[in-house]
């Protein structure tokens, strides 16, 4: 089984240097794109490959790039690598950043070439101190080798990549909030339209892509779209970094064909539940995805298949709910997070989330009433898509609405017994 994204990553060892990665063929896709393909051909190729964004929403990468205006007068344009990764339970981009920063840089060069951006930023989560060093080193190696700077590989293409380390706040990961943050402002999402492809960073055409998405680009230009499509089981294209955290025998991260079943990831790779713990449910792709339960274990982890059972693949890093963890406490923890991290712009999010957290707290502590459950349901309605400027609020609603659906009896038990049965 091919594992293109993690092939050269050895946990505990430093990442490959530029020369080592180049010898391994890692920069071939850059040479090929810049020397033999027109920018529009690169975009077309990524479109044909069907690469879907790995930041959580699964938007088609080639399609996103195709919205960028391509006239000379449209410059300057920007490429942004979203390395904020603050979704609770998510740790996949860190692995790629620490393990193989040149793979990302190679991908960014090709992506910037495709949209003809001459400046790119990597927006890095503040906590990733090790990644900060590996990226910085890789960038300076790339400048020395002539892969960054002016007239790259004598093709006339120029590109600077800058590293920006963040100062916290989950909302920075939302692409338009991230853009404001890069401009030195509060990270408040922007109203859309205009979309970033038309007016993004400093009001210029901008593409924002996730680390894992960008890490694919030079592989695809090097090895082709058929190769990419054949990597997946489900036909969507590519492999995926899947992760598992919680009470399993072997929590971790694995690169597997896109479309691997949840059961295989849990039982084979994560080794099943830890001794003394039983499975009750899981969030398939981070805090802002709907719960799935036992009935869904044979579902393939892919954008369409997970959506078909009422959740989202999200970041592909699962969080497991076991029988010794209180589901109400679990959901309360998440809603507390979402309430704290709301940027405060929209009423349902700013006011609704703290209200939800208070109600969940009351229920967990045995002070709940049955009518509180109706209030929670009513709240999820206003957090739903269409009522707020960004997807933070809908994301917050997902574990709550599905938690109420699948663990309703546990909520009711708290109310009837006037205490948390898990305490």
């Amino acid at each position: 089984m091919e594992k293109p994204l993690t092939e050269y990553i050895t946990p505990g060892s430093p990442p490959l240097s530029l020369n080592e990665y180049r010898k391994a063929g890692g920069y071939k896709g850059v040479d090929k794109a810049l020397k033999t393909m027109a920018p529009a051909e690169v975009t077309e190729m990524i479109k044909t490959s069907n690469l879907m964004g790995r930041g959580g929403a699964g938007f088609l990468t080639g399609l996103k790039w195709s919205f960028v205006p391509m006239d000379e007068k449209d410059k300057p344009k920007y490429l942004i690598c979203n390395a904020d990764e603050m979704e609770p339970g998510t740790f996949k981009d860190r692995y790629l950043l620490e393990g193989n920063p040149h793979q990302l840089i190679a991908g960014m060069i090709v992506a910037a070439y495709a949209i003809q951006a001459e400046t790119a930023y990597i927006f890095l989560r503040w906590a990733y101190k090790k990644a900060e060093k590996t990226i910085q080193k890789a960038i300076s190696e790339a400048y020395k080798a002539g892969y960054l700077g002016k007239n790259i590989l004598n093709t006339g293409f120029n590109l600077d990549i800058h590293l920006h380390t963040s100062a916290g706040r989950y909302i920075c990961g939302e692409e338009s909030a991230l853009t404001n943050s890069l401009e030195g402002k509060r990270a408040i999402p922007r109203a859309k339209p205009p979309f970033p492809a038309i007016s993004g960073l400093f009001g210029r055409p901008t593409v924002v892509n996730n680390v894992e998405t960008l890490s694919w680009i030079a592989h695809i230009t090097n090895k082709g779209t058929e190769w990419f499509k054949n990597l997946s089981i489900s036909g969507t294209g590519g492999t995926k970094l899947y992760g598992v955290s919680g009470r399993v025998k072997n929590p971790g991260l694995w690169e597997l064909p896109l479309g691997t079943t949840i059961r295989e990831i849990l039982d084979v790779h994560a080794g099943g539940m830890a001794e003394g713990y039983k499975f009750r449910g899981l969030l398939p792709g981070g805090a802002s995805t709907d719960f799935l339960i036992e009935d869904h274990l044979d579902v393939q982890m892919d954008f369409k298949t997970v959506a078909a059972v009422g959740s989202r693949m999200g970041t592909g890093t699962m969080i497991i709910l076991d029988d010794k963890t209180c589901p109400v406490a679990f959901v309360r923890n998440l809603e507390n997070f979402f309430a704290l991290e709301s940027c405060g712009w929209c009423t349902p999010c700013r006011e609704g989330l703290p209200w939800i957290e208070k109600i969940l707290g009351a229920i967990e502590e045995g002070r709940g009433k049955m009518e509180y459950l109706d209030t929670l349901k009513f709240q999820t309605k206003y957090l739903a898509p269409g009522h707020t400027f960004c997807a933070h609020a809908p994301g917050a609603a997902e574990p709550l609405q599905s938690g109420l659906k699948y663990f309703y009896d546990d909520f009711v038990r708290h109310i009837n017994e006037h205490k948390c049965p898990w305490r």
Binding site: T90, Y121, R125, A127, H164, T165, G168, G184, F202, F337
Partner: protein, 154 residues
């Protein structure tokens, strides 16, 4: 007043962007790196350097959770209370630290050695429970391990 060193570092960051004010967050981080926190005076100095109003800079400073607008101790402990760490029992780690240092979240020890803060997810979820002390990550914490770690910070 910003020191020569701070100014040089800030001006280096400004080069990354088409407008100086874009380096605002970096400037706040630089000052905090040198002084542990960002005072009202520092806000004014940064505003002047970047051509912004004091209120703009303060608005930015107060938005970001990793910029401290109040003094903190010599070492900052960030205990992860994110979902994966909750499942894996961060609460017992917190209780242990609380008991040994005599401070809760948001507080600083009387000798100014530690400030204790919660943090939601450090991206170490497969090795939970986790915490950071200053810039160092610590994983798979146990009650015993956590006190050993803290003894390393003077």
């Amino acid at each position: 007043m910003l020191t020569e060193e701070e100014l040089n570092e800030i001006r280096e960051e400004v080069k990354m962007y088409p407008i100086p004010s874009a380096a605002c967050i970096s400037a706040l981080k630089i000052v905090q790196e040198h002084r542990k926190w960002v005072s009202d005076d520092a806000i004014k100095d940064i505003a002047e350097e970047l051509g912004m109003s004091n209120e703009e800079v303060d608005g930015v400073a107060t938005f970001y959770s990793r910029i401290y607008r109040k003094p903190v101790g010599d070492n900052v402990i960030l205990i992860c209370d994110g979902i994966s760490c909750m499942i894996m029992g961060y609460e017992s780690i917190y209780e242990q630290v609380k008991e040994k240092l005599g401070i809760g979240f948001g507080e600083t020890t009387a000798d100014n050695r530690f400030t204790l803060l919660p943090i939601s997810c450090l991206g170490d979820c497969d090795h939970a429970p986790s915490m950071m002390v200053n810039n160092d990550h610590y994983n798979e914490l146990t009650k015993e391990k956590v006190m050993d770690i803290l003894s390393k910070y003077k």
